[in-house]
Symmetry: C2
Subunit: 327 residues, 2 copies
C-alpha cells in the first residue's frame, strides 16, 4: 500500500512518518511505499524499510498536484497549510496555499480516472468563531473569525462534496490545540499552553501571560498522529455525508495544566512558571473555544487523552525518554 | 447613488430592477444610476428615470468583474448563479460560475483601493443538508448535500471574511423557496410548490406529485425583493461577524397550501389539482428543510408573509392584476 503525506516536514507530518517507519503500517494497513512531500525536503523516516520517496513540492505550482497523484497513492494525508498568523498577515498567500492548494490536490484526484483514494484532511478548531456556547456541539455552525479558519472550512466543504460525488473517500479532522508541542518556544498566541509545561519540564523558566481560569481544548502530538491513523483506515460508511469531525481532547484551564504539572514533576518544576499578564494575548485567547461535545468522534473510534496529567506523561515518555527534571 | 444588479435577467433580478425603476429607490436610498448585468442582455427597468446601463457580462471571463466594478457602484447585488440541478449535472460549470465567479467579483472589489461597497449576496436553503431537526436554528451547522449548496456556503464564507477584513460590507441572504413563481411550469423538483397554485389560479390543471403532509419553507417574490432592499440599506453593525442570515418565511404543508388556495379562490379552483404521486420527487423533497427559527432575521428587520393565504394574495395582486379565476 502506498501512503502519501503532504506537509511531511511539519511537526505532525514528521511524527506520523516516523511512526509509519517504525511500525511499517498506518493503523491496521501495511505500508510498502511512503512518499513524503513538503515545500522543503522532508527528512523524516529515513529508516523506513519499504520504498521511501522524499519530494519537494508546492501544491500551488501548476502540475505539482498531478505529479504527486500520478502514482495513485492509496491514502493521501493532506497536512500542508500555512498557519493562522501568516494567513491573516498575507491574504493572497493564505487563500493561494490553504484554499487553492487544497482544491488543486482534490481536483488532481477527481480528474484521475478510476481513482478514489482515502484522503485525510487536517482541519482546525479555527473553523469555529465566537460567540460560543460553553460546550460546542457537533452540529454547531461554522463561523470562522480568521482567514485561516475560513480557508479550512472551505476545504472541509470541498472534501464533503468531492466525497459525496465519489471522487475520493475523505475524512476531515479538526485538531485540538496540540499540547505539549516539542521544540523551542514560538511567538504564536497559543504558544504558552505548551510553553508553561515544556520549559519547566526542561528545567527552564516559562512565562504565563493569562489568568489561570482560561480554559481551552488540548490533545497530545501522539493523539494527533493517532487521529490521522484512524481516519486513514476507518470504515467511512459510519460518517454518512458529514465527513468532518471535531476530534476528542481534554478541556482544561491553565490552573488544571499547572496542577497536573505539579503532580507529575513536583512543586519546584511548577514554580518555574512566572506570571506576566499580557492583555493582547489574553484578548486573543479569550475568543477561543473552551470545550466540545465530541461524542460523535468517540463513537467513530477516535481516542485522545482523558486528563491533562496524561498529556504531560505522553510528553515525558515521547520527548524526554521518560526522564523528569531532577529536584 | 449607483446600484449594480448582477444576474438582473433572472426572475428576482427583474422584479428588483422593475421596483427600483418605479420607486427610484432601493429601500430608503435614492438610485440615480442603475446598472443591470447578466449573461444575456437584461431587459427590465427600461423606464427607469435615472441613468440605466444594461451590460452583457459573464463573471467567469477574465476582466469582467473589474469592468463591472470599475464605476464603483455603491451597492452591488449579486444574484448570478447557475441553479442546483445544473450545478449537480455539470460539476466544473457549477464551481466555475457559482464559486469562481463570486470570488472574481469579491476580489475585484477587494483590489479596488478605498472602495468597500455594500454587497448583497443571494444564498440558499441548500446550504443546509439533512438530517435536520424539525425546526432549524440560526446556529445549525452547514452541511450541504449538493454541489450548489457547497458553492453557496463557500460564497457565504468569503463574504464574511472579506467583510471582516473591510474589503466590502456584505450581507448574505438565504432565500426561502420562492412561491408562487410566475411564468410557465418548469421541471425543477420544487416546481410543483408553485405549480399547484399558479396553474389553477390561471384556470389550468396542475399535478401534485407528493403527499399533502410534505412541509416546506416559502416566501413570495415580493418578499424576496424586500429582503434584498433591506439587506442593501440596513445598518450592518447589528449583524456582528455573522453576515449570512436565513430569511423569514412561512412553514406550510402542501395541505396548508391547498387549503389557502380554496379560501382565496374557491373549491372549483382547488379541484384543478390532480394527484399523481412521483416517488422520485417525493424522495428529493423529503430531504429538504421544513421549518426555521428566524428570530434573528426578524430582529434584524427582515419581513415575509406570515400565512400561506397571504402568499397567494400577493400573487393575485402582483401577477393577475387582482383578478381571480371565474367560477
Amino acid at each position: 500500500m502506498h501512503l502519501l503525506i503532504i506537509g511531511a516536514a511539519g511537526m505532525i507530518g514528521r511524527k506520523l512518518a516516523e511512526r509509519v517507519a517504525v511500525t511499517g503500517r498506518i493503523g491496521d494497513r501495511a505500508v510498502d511505499t511512503l512518499t513524503l512531500a513538503d515545500v522543503v525536503e522532508p527528512e523524516a523516516a529515513q529508516d523506513f524499510a519499504g520504498t521511501r520517496h522524499a519530494v519537494t513540492a508546492d501544491l500551488t505550482e501548476p502540475g505539482t498536484a498531478e505529479r504527486l497523484i500520478g502514482a495513485r497513492p492509496d491514502i493521501v494525508v493532506h497536512l500542508a497549510a500555512i498557519v493562522s498568523g501568516e494567513a491573516e498577515a498575507d491574504f493572497d498567500k493564505g487563500y493561494r496555499i490553504n484554499l487553492d492548494g487544497t482544491r488543486a490536490l482534490f481536483d488532481a484526484i477527481r480528474l484521475t480516472d478510476g481513482y478514489a483514494p482515502r484522503v485525510v484532511y487536517a482541519s482546525s478548531l479555527a473553523v469555529f468563531g465566537a460567540p460560543f456556547p460553553d460546550v460546542i456541539a457537533d452540529d454547531f455552525h461554522l463561523t470562522p473569525l480568521t482567514s485561516y479558519g475560513t480557508q479550512k472550512v472551505m476545504g472541509e466543504l470541498l472534501l464533503d462534496d468531492y466525497s459525496r460525488r465519489g471522487f475520493m473517500d475523505g475524512v476531515g479532522i479538526r485538531f485540538p490545540t496540540i499540547c505539549i508541542r516539542p521544540g523551542r518556544p514560538n511567538k504564536a498566541a497559543s504558544g504558552f499552553f505548551s510553553g508553561i509545561l515544556r520549559e519547566p519540564l526542561n528545567g527552564q523558566e516559562a512565562v504565563l501571560p493569562v489568568d489561570e481560569d482560561v480554559r481551552h481544548w488540548h490533545a497530545s502530538p501522539r493523539s494527533a498522529v493517532g487521529f490521522i491513523e484512524h481516519a486513514a483506515t476507518m470504515d467511512t460508511a459510519a460518517l454518512g455525508s458529514r465527513r468532518n469531525v471535531t476530534m476528542p481532547g481534554v478541556s482544561a484551564t491553565v490552573g488544571d495544566q499547572i496542577k497536573a504539572l505539579r503532580q507529575v514533576a513536583g512543586d519546584a518544576t511548577a514554580a518555574l512558571i512566572r506570571r506576566e499578564p499580557d492583555p493582547t494575548i489574553a484578548r486573543i485567547v479569550g475568543g477561543w473555544p473552551r470545550d466540545f461535545d465530541t461524542a460523535r468522534a468517540r463513537d467513530l473510534g477516535f481516542r485522545a487523552e482523558t486528563s491533562f496529567r496524561e498529556i504531560i506523561e505522553v510528553y515525558v515518555e515521547d520527548e524526554l525518554d521518560g526522564k523528569l527534571p531532577s529536584g
